[in-house]
Symmetry: C2
Subunit: 561 residues, 2 copies
């Protein structure tokens, strides 16, 4: 209980934030505000560098070899780190053996140990994780610190809050009495939280911790064990996570095999074998739509939580300050080279233009001004580097080339992509955004996620047509976020209803320095489950409650009691 008591004040604040959904975090969001920031940053970087070219020390069962094929998007050189390759039966067996004592422990013991895991990641490993994320996922320093660091820790705490709420809804004991004919029956009933079994948590290449941490913690808090399956391109952040989990759980008196890692290679993926393993009971998957669909259809009897992708949409009806709107949009389209599941891709613009206080601004002008805004952002390599960082995977460059040609054939290229020179990493894999102007006839081109800095400006008949196409694309092809600029309040009301039914989280008329797709733990719900982009809502009760069962036992009250 000591760890629970230690972290209770934070948990209490987090519970309140989840209830009220206001802005709160126990962590400073700027690296500079980290305690003793300069020394911590330096030693985190040194710790990262010391890992390069070395076997990663992860003492887990069933090691049958070593694997490692990570290449830094910043240097395009291999990290040279190798990790244990595990026999998956051994991992499942070890996970299952670890569970009974963990499941029997009081809720407070599990929550305390898991809060300690998050706190340890924050206090001891945050800056190491920053470099690990940079050189695998390819994020900028600041995004690796915030989005993959403290924001992801917040998502983890949030998952614990909801797991606790769902478990506390089950009273551990009850007395029950009733007359049946001649008998007065008095029963004592015991209700147990029974974990569903071994969870497999897939982490994605470009944004591993933000989804994986809450998934892992939701499973662990409810008594399950977790096998982490990182993307072979982005292992190090998850390997550090797994090691910290194991150390903290062991120090708290639990079996470290509650958390292990199953690594594979791109040439020989393990995913299906893990999911179809007879001991797999829960799957959390973040990644491609194609495999995510396979997971949803084939995970049974395991339950599946997925976050895949879709075509996130923007509808422009009007703006009080069109330049401010286009600037915000441009920034968000450039952010981490649009390699976030929340990045906008499709911009639906009425052919007759966008309403402004100065009158209608025509379609062509809107498209051009948006392209200009993007172009301006990437002019200065230093600014470009901060916003766009790198391209995680070489195949994204190939996709961009293909899209450019198809877009040029079907419509026109609004903005050509080019590599930009990263000021700190001259070998970085970079690309400025590719923007294509098309009509709704090109739906097969834009109607699915085109991962990377690729966007489409789509000429629609009218604002109504734009909204109708955008929400239909979301409903049928998937979409997590949506963005609207509008001056007509009735139109906004219709858009809010249409996007709610399509299941995309809508941001309206936001301008200024906040990235439009910023999703705050404790306040912004992520993924609805209403369209093909997945069902893993961070975090609501549906994300946690199915991870455990309630088993009861009842017996007559002993006489005299």
């Amino acid at each position: 209980m000591m760890l629970f008591d230690k972290h209770l004040p934070t948990l209490e604040r987090a519970r309140e934030a989840c209830r009220e959904r206001h802005c709160w975090s126990p962590y400073p969001e700027m690296p500079k505000a980290y305690p003793n920031a300069e020394a911590a940053a330096a030693s985190g970087k040194a710790a990262y560098e010391a890992m390069l070219g070395q076997p990663f020390d992860l003492d887990q069962p069933g090691t049958i070899g070593r694997l490692g094929e990570e290449i830094s998007p910043y240097t395009q050189a291999p990290l040279g780190i190798t990790y244990p390759q595990a026999d998956i039966d051994a991992l499942f067996d070890a996970a299952q053996s670890a569970m009974p004592a963990w499941a029997r422990a009081p809720i407070e013991a599990r929550l305390g140990a898991l809060m300690e895991v998050l706190d340890t990641l924050y206090r001891e490993h945050l800056f190491t994780l920053v470099h690990a994320v940079m050189h695998t996922a390819g994020q900028s320093y600041n995004m690796a610190y915030a989005g993959s660091g403290v924001n992801a820790l917040d998502r983890g705490i949030e998952a614990l809050v909801y797991a606790e709420e769902a478990m506390r809804a089950v009273t551990p004991k009850a007395g029950w009495e009733r007359r049946f004919g001649p008998s007065e029956i008095r029963l004592e009933k015991t209700y147990r939280i029974v974990p569903r079994g071994v969870a497999v948590c897939f982490a994605c290449a470009s944004f591993p911790s933000w989804n994986a941490w809450p998934s892992m913690l939701a499973s662990l808090a409810t008594g399950n064990a977790v096998i982490v399956k990182p993307h072979p391109d982005t292992v190090l952040p998850m390997a550090i996570t797994v090691r910290v989990c194991r150390q903290v759980l062991q120090a708290a008196g639990f079996d470290p095999n509650l958390v292990t890692m199953a690594l594979d290679t791109k040439a020989q993926p393990l995913g299906k074998a893990l999911i179809k393993h007879p001991k797999c009971a829960i799957v959390d998957f973040t990644g491609s739509t194609r495999f995510g669909k396979w997971v949803e259809e084939n995970a049974h009897p395991a339950i599946a939580f997925t976050e895949t992708a879709g075509c996130n949409t923007v509808v422009l009806q009007g703006a009080d300050d069109l330049d401010a709107a286009l600037r915000s949009l441009a920034t968000t389209m450039c952010m981490f080279s649009a390699q976030m599941c929340t990045s906008p891709q499709n911009v639906y613009v009425p052919a007759d233009g966008v309403d402004t206080p100065q009158g209608k601004v025509g379609f062509d002008e809107v498209a051009q001004r948006l392209a200009d805004a993007v172009a301006r952002l990437v002019e200065d390599p230093r600014k470009a580097a901060m916003i766009m960082a790198t391209i995680q995977a070489p195949q994204t460059l190939a996709l961009m080339e293909q899209m450019r040609d198809e877009g040029a054939a079907q419509g026109r290229v609004l903005l050509e992509s080019r590599p930009y020179e990263h000021p700190d990493f001259p070998s970085a894999r970079t690309a400025t955004p590719l923007m294509l102007q098309v009509t709704p006839q090109s739906r097969e081109l834009y109607g699915e996620e085109r991962f990377g800095p690729i966007s489409f400006v789509i000429r629609c008949d009218s604002a109504e047509d734009a909204l109708s196409r955008a929400t239909q694309d979301v409903k049928e092809r998937g979409g997590l976020t949506a963005f609207l600029y509008a001056t007509d309040e009735d139109f906004i009301a219709r858009a809010e209803e249409a996007y709610a039914n399509a299941g995309a989280q809508l941001t309206t008329n936001l301008t200024g320095a906040m990235p439009l797709n910023f999703a705050a733990a404790y306040s912004d719900y992520h993924v609805t489950g209403l369209n093909p982009a997945g069902n893993a809502t961070l975090t609501n009760l549906a994300f946690v409650a199915p991870r455990f069962a309630v088993a009861q036992s009842r017996r007559p009250v002993k006489e005299g009691s």
Copy 2:
């Protein structure tokens, strides 16, 4: 809100009962205690009789014909009632059109209308339902009143309580402010409960309302529409339910097409077409293990809640009063001719006997005394009728014959089955229990649900062996309930843990007049999801929370506000 206010005191008591899990119900459980019981019973019966041989008046869309093939297990004569056969596209379209206004209504409006549905079923239709259940499911009068009447209404209220809890966990609005670099961002956020879509609720032949009512109410409360798919043998109780839902919803100002009925025939089942319909978003299924497995594997993208079956197990280690234990067991094995999903089927007995204060009672003697206890219960036809009622389906008799022959070949027949003469219905389809004595070698015989009054007494090596086999059979083959008689407290503790992990709800050392398999709403959890017997826990948060999504919209706070 008027209806909500009217029913709020009951809801408040129900919330408290769900929290504390004590014994409570707003309804008297004995028919005699119903208000103005004699007149109500007579007019309910008259209303039932007036329906016989008539077209059932159900004014719903898409009617393309009429169907009806119900045969009373009491008279073995057709009821002669015909019901609308619906075009399923028309039902889905109508359901979908009905949803937006229902989903937009405040939670209180939905809960109020649904409490009114339950109250109307209770006040105006309970005794009609009793006869409808008797002459389709074949239950006794008292069971139809309690198990399929007031207890099922309780399960409905319980579902509303949890649906409310899950929805109230989502605040409808929040203010959020944070600094991003130079900008102070102030957002107002709106969170909507968005129903998942059209639900299809399958009701089973032998116990339709107890599972279907909570499923329907869980879906409706969270804003969905429901298409009810009754078993073609047992339509009338669900047709009455659907008609009452439609009338009450319409009177409350909502579209009656929120609830419709899709009837099929045994020769031309509609189940798969309903589940694979592109507008099907939720499936609730109670029925056979075979089709339940198909549902779980194929419902996607719909979510599925299932309650199928399994081999419910009994372990005998010891008893302070063996006769009392065997009497309770015998009664429960006879109850409704073991046609309940909670009926015990497999009795695991140590070869070296059962501990009692008088010493060990040997295996053969235990088996014989259990068979004698069953035989005594069914000697008197009046008592037999009250406990066993009828056999719902003719194929159960065929199965019993087959099991008798296989059991005799592999082991021995402990108790032969015979028809008994029902005192009130001379043509009733009846059968006294068949009991077979076997060894674990006959696992293929007893290791699945054998629906009807068929039980197996299984000779195990020891009490430990009995427990180990019983819980393994549950885990691998499914099981909802489990029963234990034991005098060794360590053994009880091990059994509680083993059954919790296998996912069966355990009752230990219960004797007296309460049927061992009685499951009380607000107190007893039903189905765990941890074994192949289904995943529809009545009722926990996991049963309700996935039925809706949370969609948010956020925009800058208007200046000056």
